[in-house]
């Protein structure tokens, strides 16, 4: 079937009234970005958007729309003349795409009230004609497998049946900015993508401790950022913080069972500083209540005490298998499980405190002045972006 348009339905944008324009502009930008390189015309209207397809196969366009935040669902649409014969031919052609044994119903929206056939006439006409010409399918008006939609408008008739689910949520960049603490494990990419669903733009921060952590571990995090960027049609910037000196200082000065808490506290301190610099209003992490020692409520309390920023923990109450399921759906899982050491696993204490008291942590930390080391780490942050990396590669091919 040759489709002429993709009809795009909005998610939560439809709930917005006063500032809908801002959301629509953001959605337009996301769609434009996803459609780069395709020969299409994009028309973002108040309630839905139409993407006019020229020569491209519609499946490719559909795949590209699947990951855009703010789109609830979308359908490939055929545009035909307003005569009965075109309607009948198209109905049969679409009906032939249904599988043997499936059911359907015809739904008519008669926008052009002057059209010579009424809603019921059209339903009867098309339903009957499909049943006569396509074998092995039947009508079910209550729970059909497919709903064949017919929109009769003055200029043309639009027909479609397939509706694919989109990401839902709100368009990228409409919900402010957050800094994601990205370790390279399974949880943190999922946490970032969950928050992005709500239209929040993110940048990411990653700590590495060369030579204790390998370049592969950092590359793995870059790869994750690339997957997340591509998936969301954004360019997520990754800030890589050198953590070796802090790590070894913690190892030297803080008792083994408190070192995890201090490490986390310093990481959060650095994250807050960086969040300020990049104008992010919150920090996101993949913490999950009770998953490991550092993730008890007492531990979170002791760690969280270093910051006044909101720390978003979208995975807080999920079970591990639920997180894994999401990671698989987002396409980050396979990369997350690659076996490279990150700085948490190498300096892992043998028996970390599951209930560290804030008072004790602060007492131990008061023996060392971490501030110059934190300032030094912040000065030496490296920035990576998937777009830039891609650009560099493209340039290298020319030079």
């Amino acid at each position: 079937m040759n489709y002429d348009y993709i009809l795009v339905r909005y998610g939560e944008i439809t709930l917005k009234t006063k500032n809908r324009k801002m959301f629509l502009n953001a959605l337009q930008r996301s769609i434009e970005r996803a459609m780069e390189g395709y020969d299409v015309a994009i028309d973002v209207q108040r309630d839905r958007a139409y993407i006019q397809i020229k020569d491209e196969p519609h499946e490719k366009i559909m795949d590209a729309l699947e990951n855009i935040n703010g789109i609830l669902s979308f359908s490939p649409v055929v545009k035909i003349e307003t005569d009965e014969e075109s309607m009948l031919n198209t109905a049969v052609a679409l009906g032939k795409e249904f599988k043997h044994g499936e059911t359907f119903k015809v739904e008519v929206k008669r926008v052009d009230k002057t059209y010579h056939l009424n809603t019921y006439d059209i339903q009867l006409l098309l339903g009957g004609y499909i049943l006569e010409n396509v074998e092995g399918i039947s009508v079910d008006v209550r729970h059909p497998d497919h709903q064949l939609n017919v929109e009769v408008r003055p200029e043309a008739i639009y027909m479609y049946y397939e509706a694919r689910q989109g990401m839902g949520g709100l368009p990228a960049g409409t919900g402010g900015k957050s800094l994601l603490m990205l370790s390279g494990g399974i949880d943190s990419p999922v946490a970032g993508l969950e928050v992005m669903k709500k239209g929040v733009e993110i940048e990411a921060i990653h700590f590495h401790s060369p030579p204790y952590t390998s370049p592969e571990a950092t590359n793995k995090v870059k790869k994750l950022v690339e997957i997340m960027s591509r998936r969301t049609g954004t360019d997520i910037k990754l800030h890589i913080v050198p953590f070796t000196k802090l790590q070894t200082t913690i190892y030297e000065w803080i008792p083994d069972n408190f070192s995890m808490t201090t490490t986390r506290r310093i990481m959060l301190t650095i994250a807050e500083e960086l969040a300020r610099t990049v104008n992010a209003q919150a920090v996101i992490n993949g913490e999950n209540l009770g998953q490991v020692a550092s993730q008890t409520l007492q531990s979170m309390h002791a760690i969280n005490a270093v910051t006044s920023f909101p720390v978003l923990r979208p995975l807080l109450t999920l079970d591990k298998n639920e997180i894994v399921e999401k990671a698989r759906a987002y396409g980050t899982y396979e990369t997350s499980i690659l076996p490279y050491e990150d700085c948490c696993t190498i300096f892992k204490p043998k028996a970390p405190k599951t209930r560290p008291s804030l008072e004790k942590v602060e007492k131990f930390e008061s023996k060392v002045d971490f501030r110059p080391l934190i300032a030094e780490a912040l000065e030496n942050v490296e920035c990576f972006s998937a777009d830039e990396a891609e650009e560099k590669e493209a340039f290298a091919g020319l030079l």
Binding site: E391, F395, L398, L399
Partner: protein, 375 residues
């Protein structure tokens, strides 16, 4: 066709043409535009600039893309002496510079500058002691080419740089057109340096001026302020990117190509060794050979070789129509007969052994044809 005139211009590498086309296709944007695509094009231009400077070993220098070495030489001379005219009025130049230098200097004379020429040794090198003697308080600018385009002699750039350490107000300009991509030279310390892309298998219409302090140059082309305001006009991005690539390929291949071209040079010398009334002028780089058929006119030899499909030139393409005795050959003390009978053979990185064999055969045949007129 056997092309043996690579000092005049070269054939672009295939991959350089691909770069040129792809850049023109994918990055046709104006590098001065502030939209996303313009900025992307500008970043590509900067990547090309960084690569060019790096390959020349002058990472800290400013690089201004131009239409070629002639413009770069004009910009260097006119732009810099204009800025320096309050400190002095004397310009020193070697006697064997390219017309784009010589004629610019003539124009500067009309503007009240004095030009003095540094003597040339019989080997085609500048006489360093004479240079030293010429430097006085009024000298502001010295221009010396890195490799001569007629005989291929290589000038002692680093020795001049050292000589000028005691004369900080003197700007040293080096025309490196015949050197880039052909010979590894140390240019550190020069004031400015010019070259053309088409001499090292890039495309025509693009070159650059590398400058230790680009700000100290006065623009000669005014307009929209491209290239730091020193060279206005929408930047030839495909040309610049293609030049960076050609420079990389040529520079990376210098060792291997030189070894090959030295063999070609020796083969031609051996072939000519059997002939009488042939004089091979002193050279430098192996890819340029200047040979005199004493008693004949260079033009006759060029045409005779041309009829056998071999393209060589008399002196240099830029000066060969001027109909006067070649300055370089005069400067090294060559006789009138030798100068009149001289041809230039120049090899390139694409020259093959089969072509050199054909050249030697053709030289033999032409010699047989004209030997009666040779002395």
């Amino acid at each position: 066709m056997v092309y043996m005139d690579n000092a005049a211009t070269t054939k672009p590498y295939k991959s350089v043409m691909e770069t040129y086309l792809n850049t023109g296709d994918d990055y046709y944007f104006n590098t001065a535009s502030i939209h996303m695509k313009g900025r992307e094009a500008a970043r590509l231009l900067e990547a090309a600039r960084t690569q060019v400077k790096g390959l020349m070993g002058l990472d800290e220098y400013d690089c201004i893309f131009t239409s070629g070495a002639t413009e770069s030489n004009n910009l260097a001379i006119q732009g810099i002496v204009e800025k320096k005219k309050r400190s002095g009025k004397t310009i020193l130049a070697s006697e064997i510079e390219h017309p784009s230098i010589m004629n610019t200097l003539e124009a500067m004379k009309e503007k009240g500058f004095r030009v003095k020429y540094i003597r040339t040794t019989p080997e085609g090198m500048i006489d360093l002691s004479h240079l030293e003697a010429l430097i006085d308080e009024d000298v502001i600018f010295i221009t010396v080419m890195a490799v001569n385009n007629i005989i291929g002699s290589v000038q002692p750039v680093q020795e001049i740089v050292r000589l000028l350490e005691d004369h900080p107000k003197v700007h040293l300009h080096v025309d490196a057109t015949q050197a880039v991509g052909k010979i590894q030279m140390d240019y550190r310390g020069v004031g400015s340096l010019s070259f053309s892309s088409h001499k090292f298998h890039g495309v025509k219409g693009v070159g650059a001026l590398l400058s230790r302090d680009g700000k100290a140059t006065f623009p000669i082309i005014h307009g929209g302020g491209h290239e730091y305001g020193k060279r206005s006009g929408t930047v030839n991005l495909p040309g610049a990117v293609a030049m960076a690539r050609a420079m990389r390929i040529s520079t990376e291949g210098i060792k291997e190509n030189t070894a090959r071209i030295i063999r070609y040079n020796e083969q031609v010398q051996n072939t000519l060794g059997d002939f009488k009334s042939i004089h091979i002028h002193p050279g430098g780089v192996p890819h340029i050979m200047n040979i005199s058929f004493i008693g004949a006119q260079g033009e006759v030899v060029v045409n005779a070789l041309g009829r056998r499909g071999v393209m060589v030139s008399t002196t240099s393409a830029c000066a060969s129509k001027l109909r006067k005795l070649n300055e370089t050959l005069s400067a090294i003390g060559s006789s009138k007969e030798k100068i009149e009978g001289s041809i230039r053979i120049s090899f390139g990185n694409m020259t093959t052994q089969a072509e050199v064999d054909q050249l030697c055969d053709a030289l033999g045949a032409v010699y047989e044809e004209i030997k009666e007129v040779l002395e």
